[in-house]
Amino acid sequence: MDEIADKQRLDSDFTDLYRAHLRDVYSYSYYRVGNHHDAEDLTEQTFLQAYRHFDRAQRESNGRPLRPWLIRIAHNLAANYYRDRSRKPQTQLEDAAIVSAPHDTEDLVEGRQELQDVLEGVSKLPDDRREALIMRFALGMDNREIARALDRSEGATKVLIHRAIKQLEQGLKEDSPDD
């Protein structure tokens, strides 16, 4: 009966993981591939793959949160997605960010342009910097989680994010008509 109890617990835990992180995986996928259709495929593949390896991942996690492991699966699948199909990330991200962002009427046009500039700037960053920013800001992951997802040290991750923001800041300054 121990096997039954273990399997029930495992499925229950996976259900919890799915419910807690569907939006995280989908958000990450969307910002990686740039369109809803491929983001859905990527999300689906991520959870199916996660289900297959969940038992082992849970045993090896030593009680740590599994979100970084889940995002790492999506990260690897996204890399395969580009390699297999020779695709490049798309930049049509405005619908997700701009529709959700709060604006008052006065600032609407300027605010939209500013957010669009930020998204374009993010899309031009090197892959690792772009992914770290997506994890930090779209998913709200801390340095430790991002480090695990990217298989880096926490120190290296902190530096990576700092450089990503600095590079983005520099790019926005260069593109600004006021400067």
Binding site: M1, E3, I4, K7, Q8, D11, S12, T15, Y18, R19, L22, R23, D24, Y26, S27, Y30, Y31, H36, A39, E40, T43, E44, F47, L48, Y51, A96, A97, S100, A101, E114, L115, V118, L119, V122, L133, I134, R136, F137, A138, L139, I165, K166, L168, E169, L172, K173, S176
Partner: protein, 110 residues
């Protein structure tokens, strides 16, 4: 736009979480239910092949119970999401429970 704090504030506004569609949730839960069922069937097949050994006679029953429990868990996820989508209320709860009962009945009929 000149300093890192401003850029971080902009990033928070630009990189908002994106909600998956209901269609994706439905498709994903269906897929997970199917592979759970397949896993249970494979387990049952394997168990039947070991029936010659009396030490394993209790295992096919375990496979059926495991498959039913796993599928039930995923069905409940769907029911909760449907209830949430409909904004709650007694009618939504009743429908969710009916859906769960129907789904479980279909699985038992297979």
């Amino acid at each position: 736009m000149t300093d890192m704090a401003d850029v971080e504030a902009l990033l928070r506004s630009a990189l908002v979480p994106v909600e998956p569609s209901e269609a994706l949730s439905d498709r994903l839960e269906r897929g997970l239910s199917e592979i759970t069922d397949l896993a249970a069937e494979e387990l049952a097949d394997w168990e039947l092949s070991t029936m010659r050994d009396p030490r394993n006679w209790g295992r096919p029953v375990a496979a059926v119970v495991v498959g039913g429990a796993a599928a039930g868990a995923l069905v409940l996820v769907r029911a909760r999401q449907q209830q949430k989508k409909k904004g709650g209320g007694l009618r939504a709860l009743e429908k969710s429970l009916r859906d769960v009962a129907d789904d479980l009945q279909k699985r038992l009929d297979r």
